[in-house]
């Protein structure tokens, strides 16, 4: 970026004209990865299923960015724009999740496994008692009183 005008560099980069084969190849790989993620997703790997799914999705996304969107040819500022955006998205994801993980527990959403408080009666219009499968699923034991409609505090 030290030349006064990057446009000539950009035009040079864009001279490349490949055959269309690479698009078909990338398409094939994308389909294969889709199949892979559907398979691994359906078997519900407990510990790192999410990480695997994200990894495959990132690979697919990377292929689309680099080859379909020609980021492999568009050098310079165009790449920087994408890289910085991704970085900020990651930051935006990490800090709130870290917040929930490290917060004073009663401040977490009630009924979640991050809180010891029982779930508020959240489902409107339930007319009969149900087997509560949740309500602090980690099992600290305080089940909400069955059948009691808690007054909904959200309506003004």
């Amino acid at each position: 970026m030290s030349v006064a005008n990057e446009s000539s560099q950009e035009a040079h980069n864009m001279q490349e004209h490949h055959s269309s084969v690479r698009y078909w190849v990338v398409w094939g790989v994308l389909l294969a990865l889709t199949g892979l993620t559907v398979w691994t997703g359906s078997i519900h790997i407990p510990q790192f299923g999410l990480a695997l799914a994200l990894l495959i999705a990132s690979a697919k996304g990377g292929l689309v960015l680099l080859f379909f969107m020609h980021l492999v040819d568009h050098k310079g500022a165009n790449r920087l724009v994408m890289a910085v955006s991704v970085l900020f998205v990651l930051m935006m994801l990490i800090m709130p999740m870290a917040d929930l993980a490290t917060r004073y527990r009663p401040a977490n959403p009630a009924g979640s496994h991050l809180s010891d408080l029982p779930d508020l009666e959240f489902i409107e219009g339930k007319k009969s008692t149900h087997n509560r499968a949740g309500g602090g699923a980690h099992g600290s034991g305080q089940a909400a009183p069955g059948g009691q409609q808690a007054p909904s505090p959200s309506h003004p």
Binding site: M1, A4, A98, D99
Partner: protein, 561 residues
Amino acid sequence: MNPSSSTTADGVLPAHDAHDAHGADHAHPSYLVDGTTIKSWLLTVDHKRIALMYLVWILLFFLVGGIFAMAIRLEMLTPGPTIMDAMTYNRTFTLHGMIMIFLFMIPAIPAVFGNFVLPLMLGAKDVAFPRLNLASLYIYLAGAFLALWGMLNGGLDTGWTFYTPYSAHTTTTVAPVLFGAFIIGFSSIATGLNFIVTIHTMRAPGITWFKLPLFVWALYATSCIQVLATPVIGLLMVIVTGEQLFHFGLFDPARGGDPVLFQHLFWFYSHPAVYIMVLPSFGVMSEVVATYSRKNLFGYRAIAYSSLGIAFVGFFVWGHHMFVSGQSTFDAGVFGVITMLVGVFTAIKVFNWVGTVYKGAVDFKTPFAYFCGFLFFTVFGGMTGIAVATTSLDVHWHDTYFVVAHFHFIMVGATVMAFLASIHYWFPKMFGRVYHEGWGLVAAVFIVLGFNATFIPQFLLGNYGMPRRYFEYPERYQALNVASTAGASLLAFGFVIISVYLTYALVYGRPSGKNPWRSKGYEWISDSPPPTHNFVGPQPTFSEEPHLYVDPKKAEVPNAV
């Protein structure tokens, strides 16, 4: 003010007269007169005309926001109700905040002075996407009118921060105001996008990245923030409007939601937003300080990098607005530490500006007077920012007038001072006239003193525990409140003076000539006011860096007026 001297060999060019020293100017009328129909203004794609139209509306919205500020201060004169009831008060401060932030502060310097001066500083004929530029103006106006209509027709009472769950349940007019602000966001993104592309692709031969004027660096950093941060608040506003209508409960604890998540998303934009508001003002000040000290900017690269640094690091500090909201102490710690880092970049700029003035041949004109005020306010505003960034201290100060005073020191003390300095510095460039320097200095004194009188009492009030957004307060806070209101009146008076002499100068001001400040900034190479396509003939080449003044000891000392 002697309009005749100039760094080039050109003679005096009265901007709008038909005759002049150069025959070529007949064929290249100034942008002000090139096309006199209303349509030529409303459908213009000339960045300079667009900038002027922005200026008119921005000043108007500033006036409206200022009127509501005075209403707040009048209400705060007595501990109980003074001129309004509690609900009206809530609407008034919300309106003041919304207008000032979204309708004034965010667009002010970039949309007016950025639009006007950026292509001139790059030796370009216009911005990269002139039609998008025009569209951004109309999008801004559409959003502004929608938001104003909402505010005046029911009025939002949530505060400009519209935290959930209250904003999802209040019966006041959330939808039009937030949707209006959402529309304004598109204008902000469009402007930022335009500037980034312009700076990357339309620099004249000779202008490498490290010969860019520092105002351009500041605009670049600001534009990056505008482009990346604004979509987040846009989405959030749409979601909250949806919450109002459908009550999905995304942030409602009763439905398993987390209100603090709203705050994370809100402040992810709104903290970088304050850098959108302040970075351009730092850029303007770099230009002003070099021109009026008649000295090369001290530490050019440091200032350039620090602009980028503020923009980048500013995205990682948003949680310092949430120290007492229920956020975890781990997050609070991380955000607090990174916030300290942002202060370093601003301090770098302050030292470099002072280094520029030191041993310079200072020409104490109105813009320089605003620079002096700006410097004082940035230092104290910034330091109080570091103070509230300290979590343990913020527990005491959060949601008190201390915070209010802190951000007004930066928003008014830094940005509005810079806005005023810009108007005065670039007045000859934009209109080809000079204003009365004496009145300029008088008004600057009123503004600076009035500002101090308004907001220093608020630091004290906050420290003594007076909360913000409270309609009533205990008797013991009254004296300081009265002092603050008195200061606000002085400040308002200063603005009145400015509007009078500047309007007078528009009509009756003496022609300025091309470069009345003898500045070596790039934008002064073009005529004042410039012709429609900025430069006559081919794109000029810029062989020297901007603001390359001769060693002051060896140069002629300009006559001090």
